[in-house]
Symmetry: C2
Subunit: 221 residues, 2 copies
């Protein structure tokens, strides 16, 4: 019975890692939709969000059921409680990717992002996608080094967002109000994806060490 | 020992209700800061967010410790797991109120919201604040009726946001890019506060009934 319980716990963690891969694919697809005005990529991300939501519900109910039936203690209890949180964070990242894709679809066949902001969003999309992948690796390998890298990448995302604001509010913004609103919201969505990825990493640190990283060194997003 | 455990659980729920009151005060303060360009209100919300974060950490560690020591089952397990989620939702609402207050502070002594959008934000602030209060009541009274009202208010919030977009993207938007970016982000923050409040209500329904409300009737935010 103990073995089967461990197997169930391992299955849950394996599915959480797979879910993180589905979410990173959604983030990549959303960035493609945005930068290439690719309507098919947009539709795929938007319709694919249901599957991510279903995975969340499934993992959540299995984790809850293990909690209820096995009354785990110590490290395993920490793992299950962290799983409940991480699955929510991953589901939100999927929502945010769908938000990005919806803006791309709304502006299609025009690109939602002006050419002048393209490089910024290429970088944002890349950082966000890598962060989701790293969050998944942190999870599967319980690697605290990767968790620290995630923290550094999150700061790069913040800097990308600040440079967006400088462009948006500078005198040479000539792309009008609609593009400004799109860019501000898109920047917010990518920033939140990064925050959630960093938060997943914090929880892995917690699962492995029993303590959250020092708030001074690694503030809660 | 059982009694003392029930008392600890009641204390946790009582503190969660108090936390919801602190959060609704933060939302009210943020709206005042925004609409009255009130720098003191803004500073109070921003600096007060630390206390909300500390309450989250405290409730979370007590709930976790009860889970670890008491291995609760059925309704009590559901309540504790939902508590861990709700305390995170409340903390996020506090962050979002602080984001609103920071925009008010950034534009001070000018108001961040153009006069033409004032009525819309008065309404948004009011709906958001009432939703946080209702979420707290739903929690303290486990009242499913209030939970349903929250769902209806959330739809009003969505409609307010749509009307913001119509104003922002209409031909008669004459307030420039900076105000447009502020309004778009502020609208997003209020909408998210409402989403989190509705989500807290969903969890109360889950705690009381053991099932989430039908997704058709009441989609997950």
């Amino acid at each position: 019975m103990r073995d089967s319980y461990r197997e169930q716990l391992d299955d849950i963690l394996g599915d959480l890692v797979q879910m993180s891969q589905a979410v990173s694919a959604a983030v990549r697809g959303a960035t493609t939709a945005l930068l290439e005005a690719d309507i098919h990529a947009a539709e795929q991300v938007i319709s694919g969000d249901d599957a991510i939501d279903a995975t969340q519900a499934d993992i959540e109910s299995r984790a809850f059921s293990l909690l209820a039936r096995q009354a785990p203690v110590a490290g395993e209890l920490r793992t299950l409680v962290a799983t409940l949180r991480m699955v929510t964070e991953l589901e939100r990242m999927g929502d945010l990717a769908a938000h990005v894709a919806k803006i791309a679809r709304l502006r299609y066949p025009e690109p939602a992002v002006p050419d002048a902001m393209r490089a910024n969003f290429v970088r944002m999309g890349d950082v966000a996608e890598k962060m989701v992948v790293s969050a998944g690796q942190t999870l599967s390998e319980r690697n605290l080094q990767t968790a620290q890298e995630l923290h550094d990448r999150d700061q790069e995302m913040d800097e990308l967002r600040r440079s967006q604001f400088r462009a948006l509010l500078g005198d040479d913004w000539t792309f009008g109000v609609e593009a400004a609103v799109d860019v501000a919201l898109l920047g917010r969505y990518y920033e939140r994806i990064a925050d959630h990825a960093a938060s997943v990493a914090r929880r892995v640190v917690y699962v492995v060490t029993g303590e959250f990283p020092d708030d001074e060194v690694w503030p809660q997003p």
